[in-house]
Structures are given as structure tokens and as C-alpha cells.
């Protein structure tokens, strides 16, 4: 097959030099180069899709961390907000958000008059629409918390409406406003004037991390508060429920289990459970934890139970590998100086396997954090705008989770929610990166070659 023939004489027929490849050799080398190219192309495709995916998420999502706000002085007049003048919370709370909305829009209109900013064809009502529908509720909560604010003039930073926010971020344009029932081009031109006057600015959006979800009409107020809290509750519960059970199961299977049918059944089960589609775990959660055991829907406890069952095989597989990596000489030495089997395992094998177990646990939790499908079935996709109570009661309160929030925002009609959804993905990915880096560092720091 090679071109050694010239020297040996046995294949002298070809009479070719080694250095000039034959036609057949050229063909084979070309096939080789093609094959190699396929490999490079495959890798490039994989890496390019990863890059495109991350790029689109960053492109669409980074702007969720900024938020447009209107700044204008506003007199919190006592006649409107506290008609009886007693500064009593109960009396003041009779003024609804509608009352506050009027105060807000009147103040904005007054400020525009004072500055002489006007736009033809924009009515006072439309000026009021530049302010987020959620701003009145926020202002009301602030005033009720601190009645001393009444009667003063505050220089308020007020959430701008979602379309205005979109205009500053380039999502809403004069052209798109023509077709949009929620905004007019006139309002956008007015917003442009406000921006030049320094009244309309974009700043860091803390509300994105702290606010609860908001209704379809007010994307600018929607935040991840409840989702972050729900995910945190679930992760704590998964850690508490899943890790001890997973480690205990691995210890038994790896160190104590006799070889019999029961053990075989467990082994087969664990490897099969790891391959069961996640949605099936959702069905299990719905049927057993909600319908049979009567636990409350949408609660982080049920979510954590379902996710724990899903994560258990991952943790067991990682822990068993870590325990198996501890060399038998350690066990023999401990047994040799009189430790019992149980003492050997708990005093020697387990501490040595700990870094491996921790790494596996972190990676298991990272995949649990991104799990969505089973949570949809147990009702965590519901609209929740109340924070769950502090634990332990809060574990039973309705909550939502970070990946589920990504999904529910993505299925809303308003494009502003797509931005939020991508922003939520960025938050989720940041958490995942932190967890994975922690796992890698742990492995680097404690990895031991026996």
C-alpha cells in the first residue's frame, strides 16, 4: 500500500520515486484531508452555535439590567393624599393608586409646562402615559410607609413606561410606534425632548432583582424577586434532602451491599432513573405530592421534592465514583488496626472522598437549578406577585423559579418581556458559571492522585 516499492524491487513495476505520490496515493491523501476537515467543521459548528447562542442572549438581555426613569419634582399635596389631615395610615390608605397616578401625571405635566417642553398633538393624558402604570403603586407604598413625606416636594425618580424604556434602548422606534396602540410617535418625540432636558435617564435596574413579577401591561416593573427567592428555597431544600440520602445510598451500595437481587435491582434502578425524561418526574410530583399527599401547588417544597428525586441519581453516581477512587489500602490499614467497617468508612473513606462528593453535588445542584419542565406541571408557572414568607412556612407558599420565569416571560406577547427573559437567562447563567467554576476549583485544589 505504500510507495516503498522503488527500493525493494519487488514492486519495481511502478518505477516511481518515493517523493512523487502516485495518483492513488493522492486520492487517499485527499480523502484523509477531507476527513480531517469534516472533524474541524464539526467542531466549528458546535462552537459556533454555542457562540451564537450566548451572543444572542447577551445582545437581547443585557438591556434588562438598565431601566429608564423620569426625574421631576413632585409635590405630595396633603389635600389629595391625606384629605382628613391626620396622617393616619388607615385613613391614608383609602386613597387608591388611581389617586396617586393623578398626582404623578399632574406633577409631570406641571414640570413640562414650567420648562416649556411641549409636543404638538400630545394630550395631558398621553403625557401621563409616559409614566409606568406601576409607579403609582410604588409611590403609594412609599408614602404609606413614611407619612412624613406628605406635604413636601420630592425630586422623585419615577419608573417610565415600558415603551419609553424600549425607546431609549432602541427597541421601540418612531416607525414601530405608528403601529402600536400603546404609544404614539408624538409621545416618543416628547420623550426625546425629555431626554435632552435630562429628565429622562437610564440607570442601573435594581428592581429587576428585587421586584416580583408584573402583569402583561407593565413589563418595566417585572423583576426576578420571587423567582430568585423560590429558586434559593428549592436549592436549600434539595441540598438538605438530596445530599444526605444520596451519600448514604452510595456508601451502602459501594461499601456494604451484598451481591444479591435487591442490590442489583437498586443498581439498575439508579441507572434507569438517570435516563427518565424530566417531565415524567413532574407527573410523579403532580400525582403523588399534590394529588395524593395534598401538599400545596406551586410551593417550593413540592418543587424541591421533585427536583431532589431527579438529582438523586446524579449525586449517587458522582459519590460512588468518589468513594471508589479511595484506594483499598486505606480501608485495609484502618481495618487492620481494629476499626470496625462502619468506622473505616465514616472516619477514613468518607473524608477522603469528600472533595469528589462536593464537586459532584455542586454539579448536580447546577443542573437542578436549570430544570424547568417538571416545575411547569406542579404549578410553579403560575403568576406569583407575592413574596413567599420566610422559611419554614415560606416553603409551602406559592413561588416560582428562575428558569420557569424565563419560560413564562418568553410566552408573553409584549416584546419587552423577551428582554426580561434574556436578562433572567443571564442571571441564571451567572449562577451556573459560579457553581461550575467552584466545582472546578474544588477539584483542582483537592484532587489527589493515589
Amino acid at each position: 500500500m505504500t510507495d516503498l516499492s522503488a527500493q525493494t524491487g519487488a514492486f519495481a513495476g511502478s518505477g516511481q520515486s518515493l517523493l512523487t505520490p502516485s495518483a492513488r496515493m493522492k486520492r487517499r491523501n485527499a480523502a484523509e484531508a477531507r476527513f480531517r476537515l469534516y472533524g474541524v467543521v464539526a467542531i466549528l459548528i458546535a462552537l459556533a452555535t454555542l457562540a451564537i447562542m450566548l451572543f444572542t442572549i447577551l445582545r437581547d438581555g443585557v438591556s434588562a439590567f438598565a431601566q429608564a426613569r423620569l426625574t421631576f419634582p413632585m409635590e405630595l399635596s396633603a389635600e389629595v393624599l391625606d384629605p382628613k389631615g391626620n396622617r393616619l395610615r388607615d385613613e391614608m390608605s383609602k386613597v387608591t393608586t388611581i389617586g396617586y397616578a393623578k398626582v404623578l401625571s399632574a406633577a409631570l405635566v406641571a414640570e413640562l409646562d414650567r420648562r416649556g417642553i411641549a409636543e404638538e398633538g400630545v394630550s395631558e393624558k398621553q403625557i401621563g402615559e409616559l409614566i409606568s402604570k406601576d409607579a403609582a403603586g410604588q409611590l403609594r407604598a412609599e408614602v404609606l410607609a413614611d407619612p412624613a413625606m406628605i406635604g413636601t416636594t420630592i425630586n422623585a425618580e419615577i419608573l417610565a413606561a415600558g415603551r419609553i424604556d424600549g425607546y431609549l434602548k432602541g427597541r421601540v422606534t418612531l416607525d414601530s410606534a405608528e403601529l402600536d396602540s400603546n404609544i404614539t410617535p408624538g409621545q416618543l418625540r416628547l420623550a426625546e425632548q425629555l431626554r435632552q432636558a435630562g429628565m429622562l435617564t437610564t440607570g442601573w435596574n435594581w428592581g429587576f432583582f428585587t421586584n416580583p413579577d408584573a402583569s402583561d401591561q407593565r413589563p418595566e416593573a417585572a423583576g426576578l424577586g420571587v423567582a430568585l427567592l423560590g429558586s434559593a428555597y428549592m436549592m436549600v431544600l434539595v441540598l438538605v434532602m438530596c445530599v444526605p440520602v444520596g451519600v448514604a445510598a452510595s456508601i451502602w451500595l459501594e461499601e456494604f451491599a451484598p451481591k444479591n437481587r435487591w442490590t442489583d435491582a437498586i443498581e439498575v434502578n439508579i441507572s434507569n432513573l438517570a435516563a427518565v425524561p424530566s417531565i415524567v418526574f413532574g407527573i410523579l410530583g403532580l400525582a403523588i405530592f399534590i394529588n395524593f399527599a395534598g401538599l400545596p401547588q406551586s410551593s417550593s417544597l413540592v418543587g424541591a421534592l421533585v427536583i431532589s428525586l431527579m438529582t438523586l441519581p446524579t449525586i449517587i453516581i458522582a459519590t460512588r465514583a468518589a468513594i471508589r477512587a479511595v484506594p483499598p489500602s486505606i480501608r485495609d490499614a484502618a481495618l487492620g488496626i481494629g476499626a470496625s467497617k462502619m468506622q473505616t468508612v465514616f472516619h477514613h473513606v468518607l473524608p477522603l472522598a469528600m472533595p469528589g462528593i462536593l464537586t459532584g453535588t455542586i454539579l448536580g445542584l447546577a443542573s437542578a437549578l436549570g430544570e424547568t419542565a417538571p416545575l411547569l406541571l406542579i404549578g410553579m408557572v403560575a403568576f406569583v406577585d407575592n413574596y413567599p414568607a420566610p422559611p419554614p412556612e415560606g416553603f409551602l407558599d406559592p413561588a416560582t423559579a428562575l428558569p420557569v420565569q424565563v419560560y413564562s416571560w418568553a410566552s408573553r406577547a409584549d416584546p419587552a418581556f423577551i428582554e426580561r427573559s434574556n436578562g433572567a437567562i443571564i442571571v441564571l447563567l451567572v449562577f451556573l458559571v459560579i457553581m461550575n467554576v467552584a466545582a472546578i476549583l474544588l477539584r483542582r485544589r483537592f484532587e489527589r492522585r493515589w
Partner: protein
């Protein structure tokens, strides 16, 4: 006593038992632990465990049994019309619990005295308004029977709570005495404690089996329920899927199965070539630094949650396919399609196939490569004619597992495949899958008596069986055809 209080009391007693038992074992020996059978700590643990095990067991049992007993007694006293069937019974009991809870709140707020709450009558008081005053909203006015039942319920619950506390505390003290009294130098405390620990370890490893049992049981019972309400033949062989919550639905799973398999095939067409070729390149061609960088980067794809892929399908891939392929080719104008979902699931499965194949290719012994190269084969010939045949069972296994993952994938198809159940060959048309319909039928308000809801369990069961069969088949192929080297 609340459950938390009881738990605190148990913890205190257990700690006390630990120190008392340890002390009692050591005391007669003048504090010399060498004369003991076990280390002193084990006597302490034995004491603590003899408090913890019976009390926690009894508490758990009580918490499960008490509501069942009380509900069955209450239900027996209610008029037959209110508990005619399961649904009515569940509704009535929910009312009773809600009123009882409202009365509890009212007593706790000081609106009612305890005796007043028990003497309340619907003829004299507007219970609904009263409870609304303490923040408990009721759907309808309270009937006299329900109020009476709620009062009974409260009475029984009070007795139950008292009984629970007494039982648990008695058990705790008895356990303490028992555990401490056994602490003697000849008592084999370590063996006893290790037995308990081993029992816990076994229990923990049985949870995996229990989960499987739970999955199968939850789906089998509801699936049977479904087949009593909907003919089994129509489910498996009917060609239309049109659920209608007013009744008269067609619930044939074939269109869903078609969509699922179509998407799976598309996904394999993406993931198998890309995954396999990148594995071959990384294993056979790549230099060490390239491998060290590229392999983790490809595996990053596996760490990204599927909902992110779903968004990618919804926002980027779907519109791009529609604008560049479907509309110019006149094949449709839908962003969500078989192609969209298939391609994105394929991307998701690239790292799965590539890392499994990489392991398998690396497991082929170097001597086979050396032999082939030594005979003058080029590297690609070696790969195609020596390594791949040797690695084939493993690669086929990996492909089957990737297919099983694609069949069970949910978020990507929910966001990228569409919701219309169709039997069509056009890959740019929106179709739907079993997982999409499971999510669709089970989210939101569901009525667990309607076949339209229960069909989700039958779909789940089918899905479970298909994926399980594929996985077992994959493992079987790997085992049966694996070459044993050395």
C-alpha cells in the same frame, strides 16, 4: 404543642440522653474508657437514638394518620347528600377545613372566645361575614351542617394535638430511660448503633427503588382510569388529536408520536454527524492543547439549561429558518416547526454524543491503531476501518440514548415545535409532541376526572415506556457486542 415545639423537646431529650448514657457507662469505671466494650460516644449515641427513633416514627405516623381518621369520622356524621361521591366529599371536606381554619384564626385574633367558637350557630351569626372580618374569605354562606362539622373537626383536632404531644413525650422519656439504663460496660453499644446506621443507609438506597415504584404507580393508576373513560384502541390507533374539555374529544396519540419521532430524527441528523466527527477529531487528530480547550467548551453546551435552548429556538433559530428557508421555498410561514425544534435538540445533544463517543474511541486499544498505521493505512482509513467498527456498539448505544433524550425533551419542543397536532411530512410545519401535550393538558386548572386531563398520564406512561425501552436496548447492545480487549 406545635410540631416545632415537639421537635425541639425531642432534640433536648435526645441530647440529654446522649450525655446521661455516656456518663452512666463511664461512671462505674472511674472514667477509664478502656474498660468499656465500645468507645464512650457509642453509649451516648445509643441513648440518643433510643429517644429519636420511636418518637420521630410515632410523630410521623400520627401526622399522617390523624387527618385521615378525623376526616372519616366527620364524613360519617355529615348528611349523605354532601358526601355523595368522591368529588362532593372532597369539596365538602375542603369547606369544613376552611371554616375550621377560619374559626382558629378568629380565636387566635381574639375576635371569638374559644367557647363562643364552639357554640356558634348559623341561625344567630353570619359566619361568613365573621370570618371575612379576620381575613378568611369563604366562597358561599356556611350551611349549618358544615359549621357543625367544622366545630367537630376543631374539637377532634384539639384532642389529636394533645394526644400527639402526650404520646411523643411519653415515648421520649421512656426511650431516654431505656437507652440510659442499658449503658453498661459489657453492653455492645457500637454494634447496636452501627446496626441502626446500616438500616438508615439501606433505607436511603431504597429511595431510588421507591421513586421508580412511585413513577410507575402514579402513572399506571391514572392511565387505567383514563382507559375506563376512553377506549384504548382509539388512543393508540386514532389519527386525530383534538381535545375538547366539553366532551367528545378525539385523543389519538399517533399524530403526537409522529411529531415526536420526526423531531427526534431531525435532531439525530444534526447531533450524530457533528458529535461523532468532533469526537473523532478530538480523539485522533487534535493536539493536546486544542483538546484541552475544545473539549470543555463543547461540554459547556451540556451545562446550559434546556429552557435557554428553548428561547434560542423561539427567538433566533425559528425566525431564521422561517425567513431563509421556509418562506423562500414556499414551505410554510411558521417560526415554530419540526426543523426548529429538531435542530436545537440536535445542538443540545452534540456534547452528549461527542463525549460518549470520545470515551468509547479512547477505549479502543492503541495496539489496533498501531497495527493499522503500521500496515500503511492513513489515519482516516484507520478510523473508518478499524476504530469505528471496534467502537460501533458503544456508538450505537450513545445514539440510542441521544434519541431517548430527544424523545423526552420538553422545553425546546414546548417553545419551538408548536402546538398543532398534525400528520405531515413538511419539516417546516409546526407539529407537536407527546411532551408538549403533557404540559398542555396538565398546566392550569385541571379536572382529574376528565379524560382530557387523564390522557396526559397515558402519554406520560407511553413516553416512560419508550425511553426506558430505548435505554435498556442501548445498554443491551453495548454489553452484547462489546469487544473485550486484553
Amino acid at each position: 404543642m406545635s410540631v416545632l415545639m415537639i421537635l425541639a423537646a425531642i432534640a433536648v431529650l435526645a441530647i440529654a440522653a446522649f450525655f446521661l448514657a455516656r456518663q452512666r457507662a463511664l461512671a462505674p469505671l472511674g472514667g477509664n474508657p478502656r474498660l468499656l466494650h465500645s468507645l464512650p460516644g457509642y453509649y451516648g449515641w445509643y441513648g440518643a437514638l433510643s429517644v429519636l427513633i420511636p418518637t420521630l416514627g410515632a410523630l410521623a405516623l400520627w401526622l399522617v394518620v390523624q387527618p385521615m381518621v378525623i376526616e372519616s369520622r366527620i364524613a360519617a356524621d355529615l348528611p349523605a347528600a354532601l358526601v355523595a361521591d368522591d368529588t362532593a366529599r372532597a369539596l365538602t371536606m375542603a369547606d369544613v377545613r376552611r371554616v375550621a381554619g377560619g374559626l382558629d384564626t378568629a380565636v387566635a385574633r381574639g375576635v371569638l372566645a374559644e367557647a363562643e367558637a364552639m357554640a356558634l350557630r348559623t341561625e344567630t351569626t353570619d359566619v361568613r361575614a365573621l370570618l371575612a372580618g379576620v381575613g378568611v374569605a369563604l366562597g358561599a354562606t356556611v350551611s349549618p351542617e358544615v359549621l357543625e362539622a367544622a366545630q367537630d373537626y376543631r374539637g377532634l383536632t384539639h384532642w389529636g394535638v394533645a394526644g400527639r404531644s402526650v404520646l411523643v413525650l411519653v415515648l421520649a422519656v421512656a426511650g431516654l430511660f431505656w437507652g440510659v439504663s442499658r449503658a453498661h460496660k459489657d453492653f455492645r453499644a457500637r454494634n447496636a448503633v452501627e446496626k441502626v446506621v446500616q438500616g438508615l443507609l439501606i433505607a436511603a438506597s431504597s429511595i431510588a427503588v421507591l421513586t421508580t415504584v412511585g413513577i410507575v404507580w402514579s402513572m399506571v393508576s391514572e392511565t387505567f382510569d383514563f382507559f375506563t373513560k376512553y377506549p384504548i384502541r382509539d388512543f393508540f390507533f386514532s389519527l386525530t388529536w383534538s381535545p375538547n374539555f366539553r366532551g367528545g374529544s378525539d385523543l389519538g396519540m399517533l399524530p403526537l408520536l409522529w411529531g415526536t419521532l420526526y423531531i427526534t430524527v431531525v435532531s439525530l441528523l444534526v447531533s450524530v454527524p457533528v458529535g461523532l466527527f468532533s469526537a473523532i477529531y478530538l480523539a485522533e487528530y487534535a493536539s493536546k492543547p486544542v483538546r484541552n480547550w475544545v473539549k470543555p467548551l463543547i461540554e459547556v453546551i451540556a451545562g446550559i439549561p434546556t429552557v435557554v435552548f428553548g428561547i434560542f429556538a423561539l427567538i433566533t433559530v425559528g425566525p431564521a429558518l422561517r425567513d431563509w428557508f421556509a418562506e423562500p421555498l414556499g414551505l410554510g410561514n411558521s417560526g415554530s416547526s419540526v426543523m426548529t425544534a429538531g435542530i436545537v435538540i440536535g445542538i443540545l445533544n452534540i456534547p452528549f454524543i461527542s463525549s460518549l463517543s470520545d470515551d468509547i474511541i479512547n477505549a479502543v486499544p492503541q495496539s489496533l491503531r498501531d497495527g493499522s498505521l503500521g500496515l500503511g493505512a492513513t489515519r482516516s482509513e484507520t478510523v473508518r476501518q478499524v476504530i469505528l467498527p471496534a467502537a460501533l456498539p458503544g456508538v450505537v448505544g450513545a445514539i440510542l440514548m441521544a434519541a431517548s433524550r430527544a424523545i423526552g425533551e420538553t422545553m425546546i419542543v414546548v417553545m419551538g415545535a408548536g402546538a398543532a397536532a398534525k400528520l405531515s411530512l413538511n419539516p417546516f410545519e409546526a407539529m407537536t409532541t407527546m411532551t408538549v401535550k403533557i404540559v398542555g393538558q396538565l398546566t392550569g386548572d385541571t379536572d382529574f376526572a376528565a379524560p382530557e386531563t387523564l390522557v396526559a398520564f397515558a402519554l406520560g406512561m407511553t413516553l416512560f415506556v419508550i425511553t426506558l425501552a430505548l435505554n435498556i436496548f442501548a445498554l443491551w447492545i453495548v454489553r452484547k457486542y462489546r469487544e473485550q480487549y486484553e
